[in-house]
Symmetry: C2
Subunit: 327 residues, 2 copies
Amino acid sequence: MDIVVGIDIGGTNSPFGIVTKEGEILSSGLLSTQDYNSPEDFCSEISQKISEELSKLESEYNLIGIGIGAPNGNYKNGTIEFAPNLPWKGVINLIKLFEAKFNTQIYVTNDANAAAIGEYCFGKAKGMSDFIVVTLGTGVGSGFVTNGQLIYGNDSFAGELGHTIIVDEGRECSCGRKGCLETYTSVTAIVRTANILLAESSKTSLLRDVPSDALTGKIITDAAKSGDTLSLDIFDYTAKKLAFSLANTVAITSPEAIFLFGGLANAGDLLLNPTKKYFEEYLLNLYKGKVTLEISSLTEKNAAVLGASSLVWNEIEKKQNEKVYIS
Amino acid sequence: MDIVVGIDIGGTNSPFGIVTKEGEILSSGLLSTQDYNSPEDFCSEISQKISEELSKLESEYNLIGIGIGAPNGNYKNGTIEFAPNLPWKGVINLIKLFEAKFNTQIYVTNDANAAAIGEYCFGKAKGMSDFIVVTLGTGVGSGFVTNGQLIYGNDSFAGELGHTIIVDEGRECSCGRKGCLETYTSVTAIVRTANILLAESSKTSLLRDVPSDALTGKIITDAAKSGDTLSLDIFDYTAKKLAFSLANTVAITSPEAIFLFGGLANAGDLLLNPTKKYFEEYLLNLYKGKVTLEISSLTEKNAAVLGASSLVWNEIEKKQNEKVYIS
């Protein structure tokens, strides 16, 4: 049986899984990223855990490769480059580290690109050659596929939709600029929106019972689900900003579909319905009614590991069939 | 000798040329587009003229194909679809029309995509796999190349950068929406900017001697070149809007270079220098200093025909070498 290992290196946790070609996770594990002072320590520990899981497999297996999704992961160089949320600074050569542990192919990309390839291999984007995955988590990321290929760009850092400016002189962003999409549509951003609307509005709201520094995306989502109108306003505001950005993006790559993924996308229709409405309003006539907007079909729990593993399956497919692939 | 024919169908004129693989135009001609009530009449007349020019060629030739650039040209269907500036309405099947006249391959794309392929075959983008060409004419168009391929998108209408909204509730656009890039950075747009700044400012200016409905891009450019400060302000304003849009676009496709082309780009450094300054200011740190911003090396006179012809040369190259091509 051919299998691959998918690793998702995150700021808090780094889950891994042993994945079949059909996307079944045979076995999995988890490391707390912050426990490791150096990438070498991290690699040693996770490699040992992976080997243990592999040795437990009941049937014979053939390890095809290891796919790694990581913040600021660089596909072309096989590195993590200056990731602000990881305990390890500078440029980390993941290929070199993991090749010393496993005699197999190692592939690296960033988490949003991994999500896009995962959607292509195991989700709703199967067979699509032009689509976008937008991840709405602590930050906002994106993976663009056109002509059946992932856009890496000249430096492998394409797809930073979260850092397109959508409001001139808007909210301060961690990138040092102002008005980035990320400051309006990430999980942290809707807490900012909540605090602003709570201050500006005089509506009663369930959120007024929560100390402002204790507000979370989940609390706002739950309040909106129970019909709290101010919380619904927060989603409406967020949806409008997201729709504005997505409609502009359609005019560049003209995708068949856009998939929303990650923390905020878990709100489902609460986010999707107003976003769809504003999206159609903002779209150029040429594109109206042509672009599907959906929540990703991958569950957050599995998506990162599946996405990372699909990087390997996709490379295999690419080699087998030079015409239909995402690279 | 292998040759191709390039045709640029425009709202006013439709030039054509017989082009060698090296980009030499051996012979050329021109039709006034508005003289023809039907695409059939137009096709008959231009086909006859092309045949005459071909018969005059001194050396023996081999007609490889015909490339046609046209507004709303659809590469996948080989059609012009609902082009507002042409005398012919609806969907026009150019491949069918021209195949009835010539026993050769016919390729169609829109004018901005033709400019991008032209830049790749005969201009500064030679050998680049990630770049953008932005055309600043009566409207604003764009051709995006990533992974060495032109982005056509799901419906072949990708690359409408001119219709990304850069100012919420901004200037009215011919597309029926507000704030599109085209309303700030086309040749017609800088006349709008001139009239607004003339009204808002109390500066003396050469432009005040010109009746407002007689203002043109050329008059503003000439005034700016002679040091007229209000005219320089107009270019500064235009450059800032363009730079904002280009910096956002870099965050999506991460190109190696962006080339400006068309009417407004003819202003050269007058537009380029302030655009470069604002562009670097707006860019996300990750991209600063990495993306070249230049004026296209193709002259407007030849570019359209070269661009259209390069569509054919590019298809040939694509077939010969599946790895390095723009499709």
